[in-house]
Symmetry: C2
Subunit: 378 residues, 2 copies
Amino acid sequence: MGPRVPHPEEAASPGAALLPFSWAGNGAPGAGIGIGFYGNSETSDGVSQLSSALLHANHTLSTIDDVVLETVERLGEAVKTELTTLEEVLSVRMELVAATRGARRQAEAAAQYLQGLAFWQGVSLSPVQVAEDVTFVEEYRWLAYVLLLLLVLLVCLFTLLGLAKQSKWLVVVMTAMSLLVLVLSWGSVGLEAATAVGLSDFCSNPDTYVLNLTQEETGLSSDILSYYFLCNQAVSNPFQQRLTLSQRALASIHSQLQGLEREAIPQFSAAQKPLLSLEETLNVTERSFHQLVALLHCRSLHKDYGSALRGLCEDALEGLLFLMLFSLLSAGALATTLCSLPRAWALFPPSDDYDDTDDDDPFNPQESKRFVQWQSSI
Amino acid sequence: MGPRVPHPEEAASPGAALLPFSWAGNGAPGAGIGIGFYGNSETSDGVSQLSSALLHANHTLSTIDDVVLETVERLGEAVKTELTTLEEVLSVRMELVAATRGARRQAEAAAQYLQGLAFWQGVSLSPVQVAEDVTFVEEYRWLAYVLLLLLVLLVCLFTLLGLAKQSKWLVVVMTAMSLLVLVLSWGSVGLEAATAVGLSDFCSNPDTYVLNLTQEETGLSSDILSYYFLCNQAVSNPFQQRLTLSQRALASIHSQLQGLEREAIPQFSAAQKPLLSLEETLNVTERSFHQLVALLHCRSLHKDYGSALRGLCEDALEGLLFLMLFSLLSAGALATTLCSLPRAWALFPPSDDYDDTDDDDPFNPQESKRFVQWQSSI
């Protein structure tokens, strides 16, 4: 037997020692990294659902303001131009002037009632700003997790490579990296646990908290806020009264215009144009009014609220728990790796036959020993 | 050198031959299985978004029908009881009877206008049925993929185990299983490609197709369907006319009731009770009317349509592409495994020192050879 032929049991032992590392180093973090990517994507989905619900709610709120503003302006314009022209044209018939004045009063009343419906006007809290802040934080959180996941993946792969190639420097570097990633993993476990506890505390009964917070931030009456946040049969529409009053005012303008059309047009042909224009304005106003009724109803805004809550309390929380599982798995696997790597290193044969080509350092003590052996054999 | 000490290069070769299999057998399908689980969950999310949007749309449609039915019944009841009582009480004053008859006519007209708003009544297509069908198919699809993923995972793990333990029967069984899973993978690639092509074809321009299909299934007018499916400024509300007319009828009932209250109550105290009850009915009807305006507006149903499309064309399609990637990866890895397993088997040493305990079959030809050798050495 030559001195450089190793005993078969000895040659087999690094291969056998590789197996548990291969399982621990590729199995647990492999599953962990998959879980981590899934959790990261779920959290991101949940947060983007939250911010898109906020944007949709903002769109509804700003559309309410726009429609109210537009309708009030349109009614004011009609009062200023067509109704004034009509009054001048019909000035000789007192009862027609009275009907015109009645229509003007009703139009002014309707404009005043509608004005009060733009409840979000002048509120400093902007859902767009909240959505932007949330998206900003989420982008960095997402990126940080992707980097952490890639780091764990790289550490696992290079540790396996180091074990397979039995390269000592790679194993040393990866031991140091594992220590770093272990610290990061434990840190992220702590952060995730704190966030998950806070989030599930919030999610167990969000309505009261969100209602109080929004009331503080916006200064809106609790009637309006509970109508939108609860949106059930028990809470009546706080705009019902105003809506009914403006609806009656619009219907009364309509009947007065119809009366004027019947009475005035046969006698005063100049009254036809402003009357038709007023009817058109009334039709457009009624369409806007119906849109406003639809926008003010709690269904749409409450659905956004529900969707934001679902995003936060279902998807984001679930993703967070998966991220926590990933962090725990990777921390466990890295701790195992850290404990076993020095022992695996001790099992590396002092000189190996299938060494990697990187190790051709002439000042390597093994190489110089071999050189001395080769010289003496000549 | 003893005959049973293998040459070091020979002893090392199975270890070296293991590496590429370990990478191919654990790396590619490992990533593939992660991608597959992710894709399966994304597809499932998308389909559940579709079915929840369908359920929400169904809720809106059935609420419209319910509110219309309830309001029409309430108005009919008021006409039958309170207005008839009022007519009898006021029968001595003809002008008050005329006002009451006017209110009755308006109430009947309002009921008739509102009746026409229940557009989904008598339509045979039920979104709930569609949602249930979709959920049923999706449940089996999800389960089939989870089973396929687990099968691939098990085949990979047992192949690795067979290679590590150098157990021939395990490698043979896993070769047969790999062949089976390879066929399943290629089959699923074909199914996924066909579904993805069909789905992306549908998703490139869904509106026209869905509109035509719904029109065929429901027989509703294209006015109503394009109002809900397009929901932009260009399409006017097909219920606008009816809504405005019923609103005017309700306002006119209100003004007639107010007139009656002023005129009749001082003289006929018996008129007070039915009049107050009518006012209450009118208030409730106006609330229901506002709810109906909100429900009939295209916002809510169009949002459900958009959410169903997003579920199908974003999440489900994305998930499907990920599933296709998984199937391709696993098919590739299994094909590689199938090509290399027989060669790896040939490299197994004819008798191995760290054999597993399962292989203690006395009728094993190697065992009997060893037995003969042992006998001859005695």
